[in-house]
């Protein structure tokens, strides 16, 4: 049976833990709001980009040779996985679920006989993948989300990636990240970066593609647009992941705060019982002492 003092010390320590977790929850909540706003703000650009892409690819026509970023290398030997995680922990299953998906993907690809290369955006992903697949990590970026994510950060990842593609170091790139659904749920999503997926032509017939004039020609614009598109896809993934991270941390810290509260209640009960037992014992001792006299 722990002494009264021990219990008191434990209660105090759990109380200070609760203070920390609830502060972290608050911080995550405010960061979350900002991250979400940022993720929303990129939508007009992405939509306009998708619209132009659709027009361009549909007017490129059959048979014409598109840029390699669009058509691909024609092989699927080397696959590059971009794994987006957070730098910091204490956010529940946020990182491990991305890594789990990455591991599954690696196994599946290797079973097919493909070579896998990995780029880690975020420290946690690298830490978790390093043991098993350390040799496959060809790129690593951390501190991306510090002080807000700007498009420059996405470029920092996208540009070397495009370089690698130019040099023929991989045939296909897929980005794996946590897609933000709401505060409670992040869904692991993987999206193909290279070759750039051709947007589905809208078949509802409501908006027939206008006949555009191109200046310069379609091919040139496309080769200008495609690298940008890769950058934007990376940027969106980073933003979604950042919003998801804060959401996941909010939930995790909320749970932790609640658990700490429960623990304090339980310990307080135990403390009071022990105190009562101690007082009763003392009283019995006094009474028996008095009777003996």
């Amino acid at each position: 049976m722990p002494s009264l003092k021990d219990l008191k010390v434990r209660i105090e320590s759990v109380k200070s833990t609760r203070k920390i977790t609830s502060a972290m929850k608050m911080v995550a909540a405010s960061k979350f709001r900002r991250a979400q706003e940022q993720a929303e703000a990129t939508r007009p650009y992405a939509e306009a980009m998708a619209h132009i892409m659709a027009a361009l690819t549909s007017s490129l026509g059959e048979g014409t040779e598109g840029p390699r970023l669009l058509t691909g290398t024609g092989r699927r030997d080397t696959i590059l996985l971009v794994v987006v995680t957070s730098d910091r922990g204490l956010c529940g299953a946020f990182n491990s679920q991305v890594v789990r998906e990455a591991l599954r993907e690696i196994r599946a690809l290797e079973a097919e006989g493909s070579t896998v290369k990995i780029i880690c955006a975020g420290r946690k992903g690298r830490d978790l993948l390093r043991r098993e697949h350390g040799g496959k990590i060809v790129g690593f970026y951390d501190d991306i989300a510090r002080g807000g994510i700007s498009f420059a950060e996405a470029r920092m990842i996208a540009e070397p990636l495009l370089d690698m593609f130019e040099k023929g170091e991989f045939d296909k790139a897929v980005i794996i990240y946590n897609r933000f659904k709401n505060v409670l749920t992040q869904i692991v999503a993987s999206r193909q970066l290279v070759p750039v997926p051709v947007p589905e032509a809208r078949r509802d017939g409501a908006e027939a593609p206008a006949l555009y004039e191109y200046e310069p020609d379609e091919g040139k614009i496309l080769s200008d647009l495609l690298p940008r598109n890769v950058g934007v896809q990376v940027y969106r993934a980073l933003l979604e992941s950042a919003a998801g991270e804060q959401g996941a941390r909010m939930t995790a810290m909320d749970n932790a705060t609640r658990n700490a509260g429960d623990m304090i209640d339980r310990l307080t009960l135990q403390y009071n019982r022990a105190r009562q037992a101690y007082i009763t014992k003392e009283m019995i001792e006094i009474v028996t002492g008095a009777e003996a006299v």
């Binding site: 132009i52 498009f151 200046e215 647009l225």
Partner: protein, 138 residues
């Protein structure tokens, strides 16, 4: 009126009904008025001029370092990663950026050189465009 949107990946920079927009197309400047035929063009480094009334001078001048523009019935959407209004441009900052980049170039490893050279080219071009604009008396 023409609906003009200028968007960057980070935010919607401008969304306004305007009379005319002049854009620095990669094959030469061009203006878009309401009813312009649908077109898609890439942009070079230069100014996007937004005219709120045709008779007046440009209400807004925005320096972009490339991008893409889509014109379709009654609207014009420009995508630019890097767009700064003329009033907010700090030429001295650009100059010192340029100097810093040039200094870095001599120390950089071979693998880093192309990126720095591209940055220098962009900064030089921006300064040229700015000098030109100043010369025109804007």
């Amino acid at each position: 009126m023409l609906r003009f949107d200028l968007v960057s990946p980070e935010q919607k920079l401008l969304s306004d009904d305007v009379a005319m927009v002049t854009l620095p197309g990669s094959e030469g400047d061009f203006s878009v008025l309401p009813g312009h035929a649908p077109m898609i063009s890439s942009l070079r480094v230069g100014f996007i001029d937004v005219y709120e009334k045709e008779s007046h001078g440009p209400a807004r001048r925005i320096l972009v370092s490339g991008g893409i523009v889509e014109v379709q019935a009654g609207r014009c959407t420009a995508l630019a990663e890097d767009a700064v209004p003329l009033a907010e441009i700090d030429q001295d900052a650009l100059q010192s950026d340029l100097q810093r980049a040039s200094a870095k170039l001599s120390l950089a490893e071979a693998a880093e050189k192309p990126a720095i050279e591209a940055q220098i080219a962009l900064l030089t071009r921006k300064l040229e465009v700015l000098a030109l604009a100043a010369g025109q008396g804007h």
